[in-house]
């Protein structure tokens, strides 16, 4: 087992990770392909929807990944991380929703499953590195003696918003071969390499909720756990306490949401905040959605040392958000910061991440309080 260095590639069956495996293989690396089984779609058939096949962890994806591995002639294994995924991703996801926050399961999955459990297993079976199809770049800063995380060259595909939680140790053992490429180039490469998945569509939804109905998932999950959600109905109110109607559960609402409120008062109404304690959903005009500051906790300073003085940065508060200029103020703890935006930002949502950038460099990130 003391041959050329080997790389474990996390293969989802999609075009990106398939191209990673093919590229590394072509470069002469010893590639070992893995598909992580994270969630059993058959477990909650009521929310599987018509997308149950052709989605993450479906047999179709395993079939596609295996076919690519066969094409390349590399060893390939399906590995089961369902227990870790449920414990470290699904349960926190559910708890966050019930607490009135809007969580990001992909970040939890990266932090705890892909770049922890999978990395451990890959090292255990003899791989030196792991590689994934994420659009991001890793650079070694010799002067600082540390690794840095950078946005992908293809800004429209950049996934660093979900990767801010990586540690130096994890970065040192990880490759993101697609970081320098555009999606168009990746597809073109996949075609040139003759990969069977070159034309495959991308999945958009959270992998374990293929039909995108989070509320139905939460309800089905609680049913599955033998503890159906109790009374969740409550009032829809304005900031000044006027009751406008009823809702079927705060977990069905997220800040900034406009559709599905079922109340009309002439002007368009948006969810301004939710209060799970009082089962209340507070609505108001769009201008009430804007905030110019937030606190973030559990900060991970991925590319720099924790700052001791205020710091200028562009801050992204959800995946589709255009990073906005702000000043970051340290608090007593390096794990908590206050962020003051130059301009108020729409729908600052607790549970989402605040990720700090300096141009392409990802400084760090944490969770919005």
């Amino acid at each position: 087992m003391t041959e050329a260095p080997s790389v474990a590639v996390a293969m989802s069956g999609g075009v990106d990770s398939s191209t990673v495996a093919a590229l590394l293989h072509k470069r002469g690396t010893r590639v070992i392909g893995f598909t992580m089984q994270l969630w059993d779609q058959r477990r909650l058939p009521q929310v599987a929807g018509e997308g149950a096949t052709g989605r993450c962890c479906s047999l179709d994806d395993v079939y596609d990944a295996r076919r690519v591995a066969d094409q390349l002639g590399i060893p390939y294994y399906v590995v089961n991380f369902e227990a870790e995924f449920e414990e470290r991703v699904v349960k926190p996801f559910v708890a966050e929703y019930l607490a009135g926050r809007t969580p990001i399961p992909c970040t939890l999955c990266n932090n705890h499953v892909k770049f922890r459990s999978f990395l451990e297993m890959a090292k255990g079976v003899g791989a030196e590195w792991i590689a994934t199809g994420h659009y991001a770049r890793i650079r070694y800063d010799g002067a600082a003696g540390r690794r840095q995380l950078l946005r992908a060259v293809d800004r429209s595909k950049d996934q660093t918003y979900f990767l801010f939680g990586l540690t130096q140790e994890q970065l040192a053992q990880t490759m993101f071969p697609l970081g320098e490429l555009t999606k168009t180039q990746v597809r073109e490469l996949a075609r040139q390499l003759g990969l069977s998945v070159a034309e495959k569509d991308e999945s958009q939804e959270i992998c374990f909720i293929p039909n995108g109905d989070y509320a139905a998932f939460l309800e089905a999950y609680f049913q599955d756990q033998g503890a159906p959600l109790g009374r969740t109905r409550g009032e829809i109110v304005t900031a000044d306490g006027r009751v406008l109607g009823e809702h079927a559960g705060v977990h069905r609402f997220t800040i900034g949401q406009r559709k599905g409120l079922g109340v009309a008062v002439g002007e368009p109404l948006y969810v301004i905040t939710t209060d799970p304690g009082a089962q209340r959903v507070v609505v108001g005009a769009e201008k009430q959605l804007f905030r110019d500051r937030l606190f973030a906790h559990s900060m991970n300073w991925v590319s720099i040392d924790p700052p001791e003085a205020p710091l200028r940065a562009e801050v992204k508060i959800r995946n589709k958000h255009e990073a906005a200029p702000a000043t970051v103020f340290p608090t007593g703890s390096p794990e908590r910061v206050e962020i003051r935006f130059d301009e108020p930002q729409r729908a600052v949502t607790p549970g989402q991440a605040a990720v700090l950038y300096d141009g392409d460099l990802v400084l760090g990130g944490g969770w919005i309080e």
Partner: protein, 382 residues
Amino acid sequence: MNRRYFDHNATTPVSPVVLDVYMQALQRMYGNASSIHRTGQEARQALEQARRQVASYLSCEPKEVIFTSGGTEADNLAVFGVVRASRKPRRRVITTAIEHPAVLNACMQLEREDVEVLYVPPGGDGVVDPEAIRRCINADTVLISVMHANNEVGTIQPVAEIAGMAREHGIPFHSDGVQAAGKIPVQAGVDLYAVSAHKLYAPKGVGALRVRNGVALQPLMFGGRHEQGRRPGTENVPAALAFGAAVENISLERMDRVRRMRDRLESAILERVPGTRVNGAGAPRLPNTTNICFDGIGGEALVIALDLAGFAVSTGAACSSGAVAPSHVLTAMGLTARQARSSVRFSLGESNTEEDVDELVKAIVEAVERLRRVSPDWSPHD
């Protein structure tokens, strides 16, 4: 890379003797055994010769042998065949919690058909207590099904005793003999006994169910009158001939050599790798099987690490996608889900050599050390 195979409970390579018989039959024995003409008659003769060979191996009459597509069909035919042939208004089946899915899932299907099924758990050593079976017997009991030897841990069940008990009560008794056949003497005193050819150095796609004369059996499939109307479908004569050659070639003396290699492997692992235990230790076990729990690592990862090093071993339970749920056998024996996930099955066979075993031990020592180095679950003081 040189590959060394330690997964003979999953399947075996076809032996040269069997391959020779099979190839010749495939080339020459193309007749339909039901045809009137001599081409068909020759196929019929060959088929009956194979049936006599299998019957002789199972110590039964040739007409008690039904050829099937394999072990799963033989088990299904036994379980559904006997239960559906029963006219009792209420029906109970007694089986164990450690059966192969071919019996277990057939029983679960029977439950959906309003049959009561009791799954008797084994003791911590992986052996079912006959008294626990006896306590389940009532007037509604239409079938008792207990495997002869377990596929995952290799523990041998007291089927002779259970067979006697079933006979006393006039209840048909089935035993899944798929793993026992070829490794230990088969059980002749049962009403129904399932075997599979590909565990005996013969090709996949053929097996047999012994059905004692007088046991009522409803067929699973309906078609022509093959196999006395109990299993329709044009007989697979070349496979049956290969099966016949394979049972004739069985040698329990050669198994002694396998047992010595298994013991060598087992004691080397226990000695050289701390934090290891043999599942089912102390119980009577198949001579070729050892199932070992390695504290602090995933069995799945060890299987992959060993495969990458050129050794084929198994966790013992795999679902269709290739991913792993904790073994129902090990959890029924009282192992925690974590211990069950940390267990790996090594099943040896005639093609293995002592050198294979020594190389395997080296690879295990190296892989376990590396896996434990990165495992958050491992501390040597556990």
